[in-house]
């Protein structure tokens, strides 16, 4: 049993650290440091910097321009990225649709889509959930009816993250409703500029526009946009879900936030409520630190299994559940240290880089917004309750 990195891993770690310190646009780095929300262009410029470095296709095979990294290298990358407070890679293109295309797409589709995904030239979004199909995703009703060389798509997708920026959407659609509900689902790619596609924003409780509803009103798209076989979409999506969960625990990012909390406490001008003397608060802080350390090792154990050729398996549901619980506990601790200064609603302070006079410590305004926003993390990607169903069924045989 050995958690030490090899010399090669350590060299790699240094290179990654250097990238996140020096090699992506400084203005984006500053926004991240100050906790200011990124704009579309910021995300693209960050991902293009990764692309220029050859690091955009983290889970991609080398033949499509991927990194071909080992599990350990991926761990190092995400760990360093989190600790450096680097932007998260917008997952829809690079880590969600691309693996489906390179695993199940035909050569023409691979050539048409993969290079633009890798270079972040095209912004993708995800069309899975529907107003009446959340946790029971397989009940989805958006229809795709074959009409000559086309499909006609009708229905509504929802919770479409950053869909307002998207050029393309990948969707699960129903091509057949005669058999088992999972078997009539297909995986299809839709150009957002196609006539009949419309998008309406959903404002979340933190006051931001992050998610959307996407409507398809008899949208005609070419049948060649279907990936793989008709009726296999559910299988592809499931494979994708367990395909790669590296980074899902977001350990590096949570560690950076934990350290930030400790630094705030160390500075008496921040610790106006004397929380460092409050045993109840300090106990909560310690317990989350312990849980986070345990999760770091759980992730290492999963990675070690992957690198010896074993599938990560449903145990990786732990990473999602505990990782998000930790994020949400840290949110609560930040709210506590924000104190009364977490009450004012001051979106300008974190939506825009312009000068803004803070009320109380500068970190305080965002604590509430982050707390509200992160309620999503235990809901998206399969709610934590669904994750527990997976553990009960697949690990415990219940």
């Amino acid at each position: 049993m050995d958690v030490n990195f090899t010399t090669a891993d350590l060299t790699f770690q240094k290179e990654v650290r250097n990238f996140f310190q020096n090699e992506y646009p400084m203005d984006i780095r500053e926004k991240q440091e100050k906790g200011i929300y990124l704009k579309k262009d910021d995300h693209i410029r960050f991902q293009k910097a990764l692309y220029d470095k050859g690091w955009a296709g983290i889970n991609w095979p080398v033949e499509y321009g991927g990194t071909g990294w080992s599990a350990t290298q991926k761990y190092i990358f995400f760990s360093e990225s989190g600790e450096a407070k680097a932007p998260r890679i917008v997952p829809f293109g690079l880590s969600m649709v691309a693996p489906v295309i390179f695993s199940y797409g035909n050569d023409e589709q691979k050539q048409r889509f993969l290079p633009d995904i890798l270079a972040s030239n095209i912004w993708w979004c995800q069309g899975y959930s529907e107003p009446n199909s959340g946790s029971d995703l397989a009940s989805l009703k958006t229809k795709a009816i074959k009409d000559g060389d086309d499909y006609i798509i009708s229905g509504t997708k929802t919770w479409t993250t950053l869909g307002q920026y998207a050029d393309w959407i990948f969707c699960l659609v129903r091509t057949d409703d005669s058999g088992r509900k999972q078997e009539g689902i297909s995986f299809i790619l839709i150009d957002m500029k196609t006539p009949g596609v419309s998008i309406t924003p959903i404002i979340t409780i933190d006051g931001t526009h992050e998610v959307n509803e996407v409507h398809f009103d008899a949208v005609r798209i070419p049948a060649k946009n279907l990936i793989g076989e008709e009726g296999k979409g559910w299988t592809y999506a499931k494979v994708l879900l367990t395909h790669e969960r590296t980074g899902i625990a977001r350990v590096g990012e949570s560690r950076a936030r934990l350290n930030a909390l400790k630094e705030l406490l160390d500075n008496p001008s921040n610790d106006v409520h004397n929380l460092s003397q409050n045993t109840i608060f300090m106990t909560r802080l310690l317990e989350v630190e312990i849980e986070l350390k345990a999760l770091e090792y759980t992730e290492l154990r999963v990675l070690s299994a992957i690198s010896t050729g074993k599938a990560p398996g449903p145990k990786s549901s732990i990473l999602k559940i505990r990782g998000t619980e930790i994020i949400q506990t840290l949110d609560e601790l930040f709210l506590e240290i924000g104190g009364i200064h977490s009450l004012p609603y001051l979106p300008d302070q974190y939506c825009d880089a312009s000068d803004f006079e803070a009320i109380g410590p500068s970190f305080a305004a965002k604590t509430t917004a982050t707390y509200y926003n992160n309620r999503k993390v235990s809901i998206y990607g399969g709610t934590n309750e669904i994750q527990k169903n997976i553990i009960a069924k697949q690990v415990l045989g219940l």
């Binding site: 049993m1 310690l286 350390k293 345990a294 759980t298 154990r301 010896t308 145990k315 169903n389 553990i391």
Partner: protein
């Protein structure tokens, strides 16, 4: 980075697992619990023959020279069988302290006898107000000429009744709270002035309270040098947290397997009760707690074995995690078994009882949380 087992670890795991499956079912274990001695001398001999007793002892004293990481695989398997033989007290506490603090002659003679099964040891460190922090002990050994006069009362000495020799933590100089001035004495249980009250603990193990009234010891009774034992004992106790936690991991693994099996077979409302989501989620929580505790075990074992800067902090963090995990998994295993969970006849309650003891031994979750709060935040 690699979490696969070494050949030695695999061998140890297989050896203990085979023994438990073949010779140590629950009924056998219970008959040992209810016997006069409380364990089996034949088993002890067998453990020696199988090489288990030499695992953590350095090769120069005839042992296998396994490190702390190796011992967790022995301990985890022993936990699965609720093994009552005094391996923890002899190896993880006693022999480990001899190895760390004994003179070279003491190491040579005592450790050889431990490996061959001739010598069982116990460590008498705890007193009521000093369950883990030995600077708080009030047992004293006053030097008079070339003798020491020992007075005091050691509580709940694990394996204290069956041990051939007992290692006593006593203060030879300084005052309560000082790290300096702690010494270890090796005594025979029948030493004049020593009175031992042996008993069974709630988990079916054996322990003893030992009182010393003007016990006269000569200088050869001293383990290693006088006054300087604090670091060695403190190190041994933190390593013992790791070993004890490994036992808990073994137990929790068994409880999860057995409870899942019960949920798959127990019928109520016309269904296997494992069909009910409220129970499925409870079990998923138990599974996650156990996996997280196991991850913490690996973290602390590696930190301690590699003697990292924050190693003792890691051991304390482990004890906190083990504290919450054992409470939750133990209680829920009982709950999910319904009435059978609280029946003495079923093994579930006995695994639960051992977990309860493990939380209390070597400082509870609350104790170590409080200790950790006192240590200033250290950047990771």
């Amino acid at each position: 980075m690699d979490f696969s087992l070494s050949d030695l670890q695999q061998m140890m795991q297989d050896s203990v697992s085979k023994f438990i499956q073949k010779d140590y079912d629950f009924e056998t274990r219970q008959s040992l619990v209810n016997s006069d001695l409380g364990y089996s001398e034949d088993n002890w001999k067998l453990f020696s023959d199988l090489g288990w007793l030499g695992l953590p002892i350095n090769a120069e004293y005839g042992g296998i020279g396994g490190n702390l990481i190796d011992t967790i695989f022995l301990q985890e398997e022993l936990g699965k069988g609720l093994v009552v033989e005094p391996i923890f007290s002899t190896l993880m506490l006693g022999a480990n302290l001899v190895q760390k603090h004994g003179s070279s002659e003491q190491k040579t003679t005592m450790l050889e006898d431990v490996i061959s099964g001739k010598l069982k040891l116990a460590l008498a460190h705890a007193e009521g107000p000093a369950a883990f922090d030995i600077t708080q002990i009030s047992t004293t050994a006053r030097k008079e000429g070339d003798k020491y006069i020992l007075n005091g009362h050691k509580s709940v000495v694990i394996g204290g009744a069956s041990a051939d020799k007992i290692l006593i933590c006593a203060r030879t100089s300084g005052k309560v709270g000082d790290e300096n001035g702690i010494s270890i004495f090796i005594i025979n249980p029948d030493q004049q002035g020593t009175s031992t009250r042996a008993y069974t603990t709630n988990d079916g193990m054996r322990a003893a309270d030992i009182k010393f009234n003007q016990v006269i010891l000569d200088a050869t009774s001293l383990l290693g040098e006088a006054d300087t034992a604090f670091n060695a004992v403190d190190q041994v106790l933190h390593e013992a947290i790791v070993a004890l936690s490994a036992e808990a991991i073994g137990i929790m693994g068994v409880l999860i397997d057995k409870t899942a099996e019960y949920l798959r077979t127990r019928q109520q409302f016309g269904n296997a009760i494992g069909r009910f989501q409220v129970l499925q989620h409870r079990m998923a929580d138990m599974f996650m707690e156990t996996e997280q505790a196991k991850s913490m075990l690996y973290f602390a074992a590696i930190e301690m074995a590699e003697n990292k800067t924050n190693a003792k902090r890691a051991a304390k963090m482990l004890k906190v995690k083990i504290g919450s995990a054992t409470r939750f998994v133990g209680q829920q295993a009982v709950q999910l078994h319904g009435g059978m969970g609280v029946s003495d006849e079923l093994d579930i309650g006995h695994y639960f009882k051992r977990l309860t003891s493990i939380n209390t031994l070597l400082g509870s979750k609350d104790y170590h949380l409080n200790e950790l709060i006192k240590i200033p935040a250290i950047r990771q």
